[in-house]
Structure formats: structure tokens, C-alpha cells
Amino acid sequence: MSLLTSNMLSLLIFLPLVSAFITYITPARYTKQVALGLSLIPLALCVPLFLQFNSALAGLQFTESHTWLPAFNIRYTLGIDGLALPLIGLTALLTPLCLIASWHVQKNPQGFFAAFLALEAFVIGVFSAQDFILFYLFWEAMLIPMFLLIGLWGGENRVYAALKFFLYTFVGSVLMLIAGLWLYNVTGSFSLEVWQNTVLPLGAQKWLFLAFFAAFAVKVPMFPFHTWLPDAHVQAPTAGSVILAGVLLKMGAYGFLRFCLPMFPEGSAYFAPMVFTLSAIAVVYAAFIAYVQTDIKKMIAYSSVSHMGFVTLAAFSGTVTGLHGSLLVMLNHGIVSAGLFLGVGVIYERLHTRQLANFGALAKIMPAYAFVMMILTLAAVALPGTNSFVGEFLALLGSWPTAPIYTAIATTGVVFGALYMLHLYRGIFYGDASETVLHHTAELKDLTCREWLTFLPLLALIPLLGVMPSLAQNLWQQPVQAISAEYLPALKAQIAHQPGIPQIMPETEQLSTPIVTETLALETISGTIVSATVPVTPTTSAH
């Protein structure tokens, strides 16, 4: 058992990689069963991973460190903290769901399933690598299976989309590599821990920030680097979209939290107004565009851009509240958008179209499907009680003290978000049936057991995390505190330097000072504590 725990992360990375190889050489008849079976092992491994993770500890856990290329001081270092753990869990959960959703892949199933398992390995690698070269390796390696999934198993315009996806992300990554090499020259190490403990001059921080920003902003994707995403989503097979929206986009935001904010706090603070602006634009702009899309996958793709705007806005707000919100939105968007893309897959499998105009009245023909999609739609519009609400609420609440105007702009996103999601839902499920639906009524069977299986874990998580977000929040208490402590003072100094940054009610912060004295107010989940109080003592009275 100790061997297992001390190499847990390596296992989580290399088991899927080996599984990918096994899947590739399995006869086509058994590929999907074998792949699914193998993909359940990392998911099972996540159980001890979560159980043994101690959220009270600061710093990394499950660390492994071995010499790799001593000539350049490159080490094989793995380790996770509360930022990475939930994303690893999400990856391990979504991969089997994606495989189940891809049950009907006809074209070269060995290749498809192998690519998927390899993708899982590399993504987990990205989240657990603690050495820059290792991180970069996984970061780039991840592009290959995804490129293949879009380019080989995608839609009619797949090559264009795959190339666009590859070039965009690759160009960003190259700048990150150069910045990494520069940091190696300065520090003599590729260890992220060493980098984090190095204090850099502001000028260097600015350039380093921009280089890393290029890689992460493309991945998130932030406005105006987002145009690869709709194309990639539309062309990708269902499972590709699920994993892309569910996990891959989170890698960008994860990068901001792992590299930019803690390593270059002054540099990040310097560019924070730019990030705020781009984020607020992304929230509103992408929501507008989503509203006029005719392709339902494109709509959901643009909704991703819009939601990731909340993530970056809140992350760069730097408050503990904002960072909690940012991480929650990341996790919840991973759950909800994955569910929505699975939902699109359900109808695409039956009607082979994604045009909104080709649906209609499906609530009557497929009531169970309508129910599932209604839950997902409500979660996507951040209805309180669903998981998305707490995330968005905390993200905006936490951003308000440092960026009130941008927060107010982003808040209008809740209106446009509801507009396109309800428009989408009405188009698919309500109203009159389109010609396409009328001609294919026989094929329009309601959800099969296999499809229910893909939805059920996500449907369970939506209310669970909606009512008890602390299940996830407890994991990242420590890193959130640490990041905020590094970055927020820099941001406050920055805001103080630039009177040009608009602030409503500057005096309010002095009054309550929630961000200065941000102490951890954690209440344990308790039973029904009852306290009898007269709610208000009338200080003034009419009589």
C-alpha cells in the first residue's frame, strides 16, 4: 500500500498511458469494453487520493521527485495541492463518461479509445507536474491526442479546426517555453517550487507574465484568443467536446493560478486591469454571440468562453472569496458544460444535425432527455441550488472590492446567459416539431441506459455541489490563502498607484475592510443549532 501511495501520481499518469497502448493492440471487437474497464482504474485510484489528501496542509502532497536530466537540473517531480486535486478528479470522472458516450465510434475504434486514454494521462500529468520541463512536456503532449481526435474523428471541416486548435495553442506555448528557459538561466532550476520562492524585479515579471499569459489565455480561452474554440468544438466528436470543455479549458486557468499569480504577483497585478477588461468583455461579448448561433454546439462553445470570463476575472481579483469563486466556476463549468455537450451528442446521434432549426417539440417525444437537459440548462444559468450559482456568486462577490465596474459589467452576463440558454432549450424541446423531427420520429427514442449512465454522475453532482460546495472548497483552502497572500497586496498597491482605475465607493472598503482582514470564517457543518433571537430591536419608532 505504501508503494501505491508513494507513487500514486505516477500511477495515475502511466496507467492510462499503458491502458492506451493495451487498447490500441486489442482487437476492435473488444476495444471499447477494454478501454472502459481500464479507464475505471484511475477513477478508482482517485478514491484513496481524495481520502488521503489532507486539506489542512499547506504545500504539495503525494510528492515524488527523481533525478531525470541532471546536466540541466531537470527533475521528474510530481505533487499536487488543492488546486490540482479536484481537476484530476474531474478528469478521471469524465474520461469513462466520454468513453461510454463514444460507444458507437465506427472508424478505427482502437485509435480513438487509445487517444482518449493518452489524453487522460497527459492532462493528469499537467495537473501534477512540479518541474517546468515535465509540465511543458505534458502540456504539449496533450495537444497530440486532441489534435488527432478532432482531425481524424471530427466533422466535415475537421482539418481546419484541428490545425487552428494546434497552431493557436502551440504559438502560445512556445512563448511560455522561452520564458521558462529564461527563468532557468536566472534560478538554475526548473523546479516550480524554486521559481515560486524567487523574487523577481518588476520589469522581468512583466515580460514573464506576458509570455505565460500567451499560453494560458489561449487555453482558457480569453477574448480575443478564443476563436479556435468554437471551431474545435463544432468539429470535435462528442467526447472530444466533453473533455475539451470539461477539463482542457481549465488548464489555462490552472496555469494562471499555478504560475502567474504566485510567481509574478507584481507583474500580474500590473496587467490585472487588462485581464479584468478582457474578462468582462468575454462574459458579455461571447454571450451575445452565443445568442445568434444556429449551431447548438457553437452556442455552448461560446457559453464556455463567457463562463471562463468569470473565472479569469475572479482569479485576478485576488481576494480569497474571488479565488474560491474562480475555482468553483472552473469545477462547475467542467461538470455542466460536459453534461451539455453529452446532451448535444444524444440528439446528434439520432438526427445527425446540430442546427437549432432542425429540432423542436422534443419535450413531447423524449421527456427524460428533456428533463436531463432542463437540469443542465438551469445549472448553466446558475440557478441558486445548482452548483454553478455559488461559484458565480462568490466570483462576482469577490471581484467587487477590487474591480467593481468590471464586476458590474460581468454581472449583466447572467441576463444574456439566461437569454441564450432558454433560447436554446426552447428551440430543441418546445414549440412545433421541425420537418427533420417529424421525418425521424421513429428514431427518436428516449435516453438509453447507456446515456443515462453518462448523465447520472453529473446530475448527482449538480445539486450536491449546489448545496454543499464546501465539499470542494475545503480542498483548496490552503492554496487559495497562499495565492491571495502573495498577489493581493501587489494588486492593492497597483490600484493605489493608478487612480485611473475606476472605483465606486472607495470609502466602503475602509469601513468594512473585508479584503484586508480576510480571515478564514469556516463554520463546521452542524446540525440544527437553534438560537432564539428577536430579529431587530427597533432603534427608532414612529411613536
Binding site: 413531447k364 441558486p384 450559482f389 462568490l394 467593481p404 441576463v415 414549440g431 472548497q473 479584503i515
Partner: protein, 690 residues
């Protein structure tokens, strides 16, 4: 009693949720049935296409199990609510705050689920559960022929739960949960007949207009959180004095943005456009959600936040004027609408305006009092209208009742009587409920310090007369017809549409509604008649035991009893003249209204077209939104960003080709190039060193 109060409160809130969940579980045992997949029951043309298949035994069970569970749980919640209310009233129970568990905590914020029971929430509890229980029972009859009625009951109970969460929340975040929850249930219920395009459009409109208001409300909440450092009511109220001493601007900002949120939910002028369209939903929904409970959430919120609003007097002025404008605006529109439900919807809008202008003059108790009485008589009116619609086979146009050739007051005698009670209460005739509460609102406005409420009083009194006219227009137009209809008198102003003609062909016999629909109207009728007299203590500040706070300088409510006698009686005089006028115009001389509309075409057109607000919004908001969205998609993404990128790619390609052109292969070209570079480089170095 006191020991059980927290548990009882929790139970009252959770029971409807349990009912809804258990009802939803019936879908696991009996999945969606064939009958449910077919076209449902329909307000406009339902009678000719619903339930094509005979219900099987299992389908009956599925529905009745779900309906019993939901109705039973709401009835139980009603009993508990009344127990608590009476307990608070006679002193056997004390206000209590319960904590269930921490919802979320981050940074300085810790938000808990729980309940807060005081006079304010207890009043809302009885209003919500009582009307909800009546509507649940009524729907057994009204929705009897609907193929997916269990879904309807599940939504109703879910709505009731969300509304109870809203009113019993101890903090603003849980309140917001209820706030959004009722919005979604409203969306689902307006669009219940989802094959109707108009119902879908109305549902989305309701949700989006409310979301616009909610976005403003969220901004208010963020500002409030940043200013007060808490989102819990009791902690906010404790800090109001300290904050207003240093930062009254922040208080006004917060109060204003929360009010915008309240305007959306309570359909105040500017954000009211969704409410009339919401009448696309089944009539019991209109009674519960769009008359008695959800739309009053905004009024409740402002009363709950009274300590804050008392510190923001400028915002109170805005609240007062918005309320008054809404009251008169909706009343003028209500005069000319032909759809019985829409008339009542505009009436609701108008009455909510009264509540807000009561708040504007700091007469929160008067607002809550009117909210309570209004819930009873308006729900009664809607259920009565539903009974008429049911009896007339889904005909909603009051002019078509006149044409039907039946004397409705003889065909529907019980409904007719109940509608009279509701209308008298609405018009404010003593001793009916509306008289007590509406007069208190108007008198408070008159007594507002410095006389700033006088315009509100004038507007409100005029609107009271209009209320009597449109209220009794329904009664006289719908029920007082001659047996053999005289074409010259009853000709509708508009030509018969195809659909209406289609209806005439059916020749269904109108009938009185079944007992299952009439009996639940009786408690509401009781409330409409007696609640004003029984609950008149609600109009005093003392009754609220500190759950409402009024600044001592805002003495409107206190002085309301000391205004000149004439101005106390004036609304009543006008209301009685309104009823008399309505009798002559709409029962005796039906040709006159038509003449008036011809004489005053412009005011008539403005009223009939609802002041053209929808058209203005189409131009102002809806079309620009779509245009901007298309512009972003086309010029922002496709031609802008991607265009630049593709252009960039082309530039790289062209540059490469140009460079290739430079590779001539002639040695002297290279030599010249080297020479040039060397010269430039050396020159630069020289220039630097000098």
C-alpha cells in the same frame, strides 16, 4: 409551543419540497405515459385536441398519487403556518432564527441555510401557504382533463417551497435562492403548455425581464456585502446606523439597486411587461404566482429591508413615485383590455403599485396589510375568472361572453357571487378587505411629512376610481347579458377572428364549475370579505413587533388617522361612483364606451396598446440586442479576429515569398547587402558611442 417553533418553521418550509420530490418520484415508478406525450390541455383550443387516448388505470394512479402528495404536503404546511402565525399573535410563540447548516463560506463570508420566523415572515407564510393550498385543491378540478397534470402539481409545490424559502430566509443569499427559484417555477408554469409558441415566448420574457432586474439586484448585493461585511439580515440592520453616518451614498446605492430587483419581480412600471404575458399560463398559476405571492416578493423584500430603506429617504421617494406611476398606468390599461385575465393582471400590477407607494411614504405596515388582503381577493378573482373560463370552454374574451347568448350570472351563479365579493374588495367598498388596506395606504400618502405624498394620494385616489370601473366592467360585461343578445349593443369592437369564429361553431353549453373548484374559493372569499377587519392591526407599527422599522421622522403612517375627513372618504366616494358608472356603461348602455373610444381615439389607442411599452422596448432593447449580437458574431469574430489572423497568416506567407525573391543567387547582391548592413551597423555603434 415555543420549543417546537423552530422545528415547525423548518417543517412548514420543507413540506412542499418533500411533496414535490415525492411527486417527482412517481415518474420513476410510472414513467411518462402515452397520454402525457400527446397534446396537453390547452386554454385556447384545448377542448378539441386533448387526451385522445383513454386514461389507463396506471396512468390515473400516477397522477393521483403525485397530486395527493403535493396537495397534502401543502395543506399540512398551511396548518403549521397558521399555528405559528396565531402563536406569534397571542404570544405563545416568540420570533426565532434557525440555522440548518453552512451553505458556503469563503473569505469573510459564511452563509447558512436556515429560517427566520417573525411577524413579517409569519404573515407571508400564511399568505403563501393558504393561497397555495386553495390553488392546489382548485387545480384538481381545473386541470382534471390535462394529460400531464402531475407535472403541473409538482411545479406548483416546488414554487411554494421556493416562495417559502424566500420569505423565511435569514440572509439575503438564501432569499435570492428563493427569489430565483420562484422565477424558474414561474417560467416553467407560464410555459406549461409548451407546444404553444405564445406560452414559450411569454415564459422566456418573464424570466429574462426578471433576470435584468436580478442583475441589478446582484450588484446591490455585492455593494451591500462590501459595505456591511455581511449578508445576514440581523447583522445588516445592526450596522445601518453606523454605516449611514459615514457613507449614506452607499446606502442609497444599495437601496436603489435592490429596489430595481424588486421592480422586476413585482412588475413595476418599466419592468412590468412580462406580467400580462404571463397570463399564458394556466389560470391557477396566475392566481397563485402572478397575483397573490411571487409578485409580492418585491414588496416583502423592501419591508424586510425597512431599516435600510429608512436610511435612504431619496430612494424612498423614487419608490413612491414608481409605485404611483404603476398604479395609474396599469389602471388606465386595465380599462380597455378584452381578455378577462389580462384585465386582472393589470389590476394586480396597479395594486402592487399601491403597495410600493405605501413603502415610499414609509408606511410599510400599510403595504404589508394591503399585500395580505390583496392576496385573498385577487386570488379569488383569478380563480373566479378561471371558473368562468372553465365554464365557457376556454373563452377568455369578455366581449365573447356577451355574444354567447347565455346569461352567465344565471349559468354560473356561485362564481358570479364570489366574483362580486372579490370585486367589492378590490374596489375598496366597506366592509370588504380592500377598503381597510387601500384606505390606509392612501391616507398614509396624504399624511406624509411635508406633504410630499399629496401627488401620490391624488394619483392613487384617481386610480381607485379606475379600479372600481375596470373591476366592475368585468362583472357587468361578463355576467350581465341579455338572454337573446342584441347585436347592436354587444358587437365586439374588433372583428371576429378566425379562432373565435371557430369557437362559436362548437356550441358548448356553459356550466357552473364542479365543487372541487368552488370549495377552495370559499376560504379566499372569507379572506376577501373579512381579512381587512380581522387583521386591521396589521396596519399599525406595533403589531409587527420590530420586524418593521420606521424612522421617527417618517410619520406618515402614524398621522394617517388625523387627515381631514373629506380626504378619508374621497376614495370611497370615487369608488362607488366608479361602480355606478361601470353599471351604466357596461350593463345598461353598452354603446357608450364605443362612442367614447371614437370620440377620444388617441387615449383609447394608448390604453388599448398598453402605452406601446412593448413596442418601444422592441425598438429600444430587443432589436438592438439581436443586431449587436449579429454584429459581434459577424464583424467581431469572423471578420475581425479571424480576419486579422487569416490576414496575418497571409502576410507571413507573402513575406516568405518576398524573402524567397531576395534569394537571387547573385554573389554581388549578397555582397551589397552585407556592405549595407555593415555600414548601418557600424554607423549605429558610432552614433551610440558619440
Amino acid at each position: 409551543m415555543q420549543a417546537l417553533v423552530p422545528q415547525l418553521t423548518t417543517l412548514a418550509v420543507l413540506l412542499p419540497a418533500i411533496g414535490a420530490l415525492l411527486g417527482a418520484l412517481t415518474f420513476l415508478i410510472w414513467p411518462t405515459l402515452k397520454a402525457e406525450l400527446a397534446h396537453g390541455h390547452d386554454d385556447h383550443h384545448g377542448h378539441d385536441d386533448h387526451a385522445p387516448e383513454a386514461p389507463t388505470a396506471s396512468s390515473k394512479w400516477a397522477h393521483y398519487v403525485a397530486m395527493s402528495l403535493t396537495t397534502g404536503s401543502v395543506l399540512a404546511a398551511t396548518v403549521i403556518s397558521w399555528t405559528l402565525f396565531i402563536g406569534l399573535n397571542n404570544g405563545t410563540a416568540e420570533p426565532v432564527t434557525t440555522h440548518w447548516f453552512t451553505w458556503f463560506s469563503a473569505g469573510p463570508w459564511a452563509v447558512t441555510f436556515g429560517t427566520m420566523l417573525d411577524k413579517l415572515s409569519a404573515t407571508m407564510l400564511i399568505v403563501v401557504t393558504s393561497v397555495s393550498a386553495c390553488v392546489h385543491v382548485y387545480s384538481w378540478g381545473y386541470m382534471a382533463e390535462d394529460a400531464s397534470k402531475r407535472r403541473f402539481f409538482i411545479y406548483l409545490s416546488a414554487f411554494t417551497f421556493a416562495m417559502l424559502m424566500l420569505v423565511t430566509a435569514p440572509n439575503l443569499v438564501q432569499m435570492f435562492l428563493g427569489w430565483e427559484g420562484v422565477g424558474v417555477c414561474s417560467y416553467l408554469l407560464i410555459g406549461f403548455w409548451f407546444h404553444k409558441a405564445s406560452a414559450n415566448a411569454a415564459a422566456i420574457k418573464a424570466f429574462i425581464v426578471n433576470r435584468v432586474a436580478d442583475a441589478a439586484m446582484l450588484v446591490g448585493l455585492f455593494a451591500l456585502a462590501a459595505t456591511f461585511g455581511t449578508l445576514t439580515y440581523s447583522e445588516i440592520f445592526a450596522k445601518v446606523d453606523a454605516v449611514s453616518a459615514t457613507n449614506s451614498y452607499a446606502i442609497s446605492f444599495i437601496a436603489l439597486f435592490l429596489f430595481i430587483g424588486a421592480m422586476g419581480k413585482s412588475a413595476q412600471f418599466g419592468l412590468h411587461t412580462w406580467l400580462p404575458d404571463a397570463m399564458e399560463g394556466p389560470t391557477p398559476v396566475s392566481a397563485l404566482i402572478h397575483a397573490a405571492t411571487m409578485v409580492t416578493a418585491g414588496v416583502f423584500l423592501l419591508c424586510r429591508m425597512s431599516p435600510l430603506y429608512e436610511a435612504a429617504p431619496q430612494v424612498l421617494h423614487i419608490v413612491g413615485y414608481v409605485g404611483a406611476i404603476t398604479a395609474i398606468f396599469a389602471a388606465t390599461v386595465g380599462l380597455t383590455q378584452t381578455d378577462i385575465k389580462r384585465v386582472i393582471a393589470y389590476s394586480t400590477c396597479s395594486q402592487l403599485g399601491y403597495m410600493f407607494f405605501a413603502i415610499g411614504v414609509s408606511a410599510y405596515p400599510a403595504a404589508m396589510f394591503h399585500l395580505t388582503t390583496h392576496a385573498f381577493f385577487k386570488a379569488l378573482l383569478f380563480l373566479g375568472a378561471g371558473s368562468v373560463i372553465h365554464g365557457m370552454h376556454h373563452e377568455q374574451n369578455i366581449f365573447n361572453y356577451a355574444k354567447s347568448g347565455y346569461v352567465l350570472r344565471k349559468v354560473l351563479p356561485i362564481t358570479y357571487g364570489l366574483m362580486w365579493l372579490g370585486s367589492l374588495a378590490l374596489a375598496g367598498i366597506p366592509p370588504f378587505a380592500g377598503y381597510f388596506s387601500k384606505d390606509l395606504v392612501l391616507e398614509s400618502a396624504f399624511a406624509a411629512p411635508g406633504g410630499w405624498g399629496l401627488p401620490l394620494y391624488a394619483i392613487g385616489t384617481l386610480a381607485a376610481m379606475l379600479t372600481a370601473i375596470y373591476g366592475f366592467r368585468i362583472i357587468f360585461m361578463s355576467f350581465h347579458n341579455k338572454p337573446k343578445v342584441d347585436e347592436a349593443h354587444a358587437k365586439p369592437t374588433k372583428a371576429k377572428s378566425k379562432k373565435e369564429a371557430h369557437h362559436d361553431d362548437h356550441h358548448h353549453t356553459p356550466h357552473e364549475s364542479p365543487w372541487i373548484m368552488l370549495v377552495p374559493m370559499l376560504p379566499l372569499a372569507f379572506g376577501a370579505v373579512l381579512s381587512g377587519w380581522l387583521l386591521h392591526n396589521m396596519g399599525t407599527l406595533e403589531w409587527w413587533d420590530g420586524s418593521i422599522v420606521i424612522h421617527h421622522a417618517h410619520s406618515a403612517l402614524h398621522d394617517a388617522h388625523h387627515i381631514p375627513e373629506f380626504f378619508k372618504k374621497l376614495p370611497l366616494i370615487l369608488a362607488i361612483s366608479g361602480i355606478t358608472l361601470a353599471f351604466y356603461l357596461f350593463a345598461e348602455y353598452r354603446g357608450i364606451p364605443k362612442r367614447i373610444s371614437q370620440l377620444l381615439p388617441i387615449p383609447y389607442a394608448i390604453s388599448l396598446n398598453k402605452w406601446y411599452i412593448d413596442e418601444i422596448y422592441q425598438v429600444l432593447w430587443v432589436n438592438p440586442t439581436a443586431s449587436v449580437a449579429r454584429f459581434f458574431a459577424e464583424w467581431g469574430d469572423k471578420k475581425g479576429i479571424d480576419g486579422l489572423l487569416n490576414g496575418g497568416a497571409a502576410t507571413v506567407r507573402d513575406f516568405g515569398q518576398w524573402l524567397r525573391g531576395a534569394q537571387t543567387g547573385y554573389v554581388y547582391h549578397y555582397a551589397y547587402a552585407m556592405l549595407l548592413a555593415l555600414t548601418l551597423g557600424l554607423g549605429y555603434l558610432l552614433w551610440k558611442t558619440m
